[in-house]
């Protein structure tokens, strides 16, 4: 998802007998759905894994501004421009909420940003794909945010209080994102043949990257067990992916577009849609930095941060001068 392939910092799930008293008390809280709060005792591995996951989630929101931001200046009407801008602004807000949640674990936002810029932390693979036509903007809101919602709704129940509360706030805002996206692509799909062609192209290109967002199949998903036991992760990758496919296929059909995968078929017996696996070698390539936009995305983020250094320093210097003058006057 926005946090994919999080390496859980753990030597494996401990049995109750192997746990210390503190660890047992901690695990009991989690099993009883009592939230873990910043000042509570927690295993170091839990803290480390959370910082990694929340940090990656935050980075994804902020890098995720770029592909959609790519169309703000080209939005076709004043209303669409305002909607898109408000939507991308929300992503910045989500990044901010999530960095704040990570900060409660003792990792500063600047430190996390530095790790991202040095290539030592990652963000979701999906934002390394380009937005090439206006229908992509609809498709990103509908498919990408739609996929994110599936994951984030589950994460509202995550064990770490600040993360869970950030997710609740974010989910409230996300449904605007998915709906505005679907509304925009509806106009395209039901519009002129040229508009419809753009809509089809968007769905064809973004479908597999969207279902990759949930991460590798459960069979290949490393270290999930500990994350599940700690309720940092609440549902498995495959469960979430299936849920997304099931809710999305009828939405594609409603648009009158061709399904992006010939193997999508309702399976009566399973009560779910069957679908093709994405090309996982592509996924691992994108994660490694070989996606179509990895280099440009990082270049943009690093430039924004570096070019902004004098601004952050300047405003802070002024605030400190003012504070010093106030103290001197007292």
């Amino acid at each position: 998802m926005y946090a994919q392939m999080i390496k859980t910092a753990s030597a494996g799930v401990k049995s109750r007998e192997e746990m210390t008293d503190q660890e047992r008390e901690f695990q009991d809280k989690i099993d009883n759905d009592i939230k873990i709060e910043p000042r509570d005792w927690m295993p170091d591995d839990y803290r480390r894994t959370l910082i990694r996951q929340i940090g990656q989630h935050a980075h994804s929101e902020v890098v995720g501004q770029l592909p959609e931001g790519n169309w703000i200046t080209r939005a076709p009407t004043l209303e669409r421009k305002a909607i898109l801008l408000a939507k991308v602004q929300d992503e910045a807000g989500h990044g901010l909420y999530l960095y704040s949640a990570a900060e409660t674990l003792g990792e500063s936002r600047d430190e996390l940003v530095k790790l991202l810029h040095e290539g030592r932390m990652k963000y979701s693979s999906i934002f390394n794909y380009p937005t090439l036509n206006w229908a992509d903007i609809g498709a990103v809101g509908w498919l990408v945010d739609g996929a994110a919602i599936v994951n984030q709704v589950a994460l509202q129940r995550t064990s770490y209080g600040p993360y869970s509360r950030a997710m609740i706030r974010i989910c409230k805002e996300e449904s605007f994102h998915a709906r505005q996206g679907y509304h925009a692509i509806m106009k395209m799909a039901f519009g002129t043949p040229e508009q419809k062609r753009q809509a089809q192209s968007a769905v064809d290109r973004l479908w597999f990257p969207a279902i990759m967002m949930f991460g590798p199949t459960d069979a290949d998903s490393t270290n999930s067990d500990q994350s599940m036991a700690w309720k940092i992760k609440v549902k498995s990758n495959d469960e979430l992916r299936q849920q997304f496919v099931d809710q999305t296929v009828p939405q594609i059909e409603y648009l009158g577009l061709d399904l992006p995968d010939p193997n999508i078929k309702w399976n009566e017996e399973r009560g779910h849609y069957d679908f093709s696996d994405p090309d996982w070698s592509e996924f691992f390539n994108v994660i490694k930095g070989n996606g179509p936009c990895n280099v440009d995305r990082m270049k943009d983020r690093v430039a924004a941060w570096d070019d902004g250094q004098w601004v952050r320093d300047g405003l802070l210097a002024h605030a400190q001068k003012k504070a010093a003058a106030k103290v001197a006057a007292e």
Binding site: R39, G93, E173, R312, L315
Partner: protein, 94 residues
């Protein structure tokens, strides 16, 4: 990092809220900018009519381990709650 803007905790009273509630945090160079940033970050959907900001380092909090001694003793003082007392209906509302 030495040049990081301080962290502020944000409290907002909503349209129908009786008191300020903690809504999250953000970074700002000083209190005045923290209030402005809070307005821009946390009231985009018409959530507030009043904002408080407190620099995070100035908040003192109870320790989780003290929960027992601090809060459990009041659990047994059930007579503090009005429902503890049965008052005959004839007396009227009280």
């Amino acid at each position: 990092m030495k040049n990081e803007w301080p962290l502020w905790e944000i409290f907002i009273r909503g349209q129908h809220g009786m008191s300020h509630r903690h809504v999250g945090s953000l970074h700002a160079p000083d209190a005045a900018m923290a209030i402005k940033n809070a307005r821009d970050v946390y009231t985009r959907r018409n959530e507030g009519v009043s904002i408080w900001v407190v620099e995070a380092q100035h908040i003192s909090a109870t320790a989780p381990g003290d929960k027992g001694p601090l809060f459990e003793p009041s659990e047994s003082k059930i007579y503090r709650h009005p429902t503890f007392f049965d008052i005959p209906e004839e007396v009227g509302s009280m």
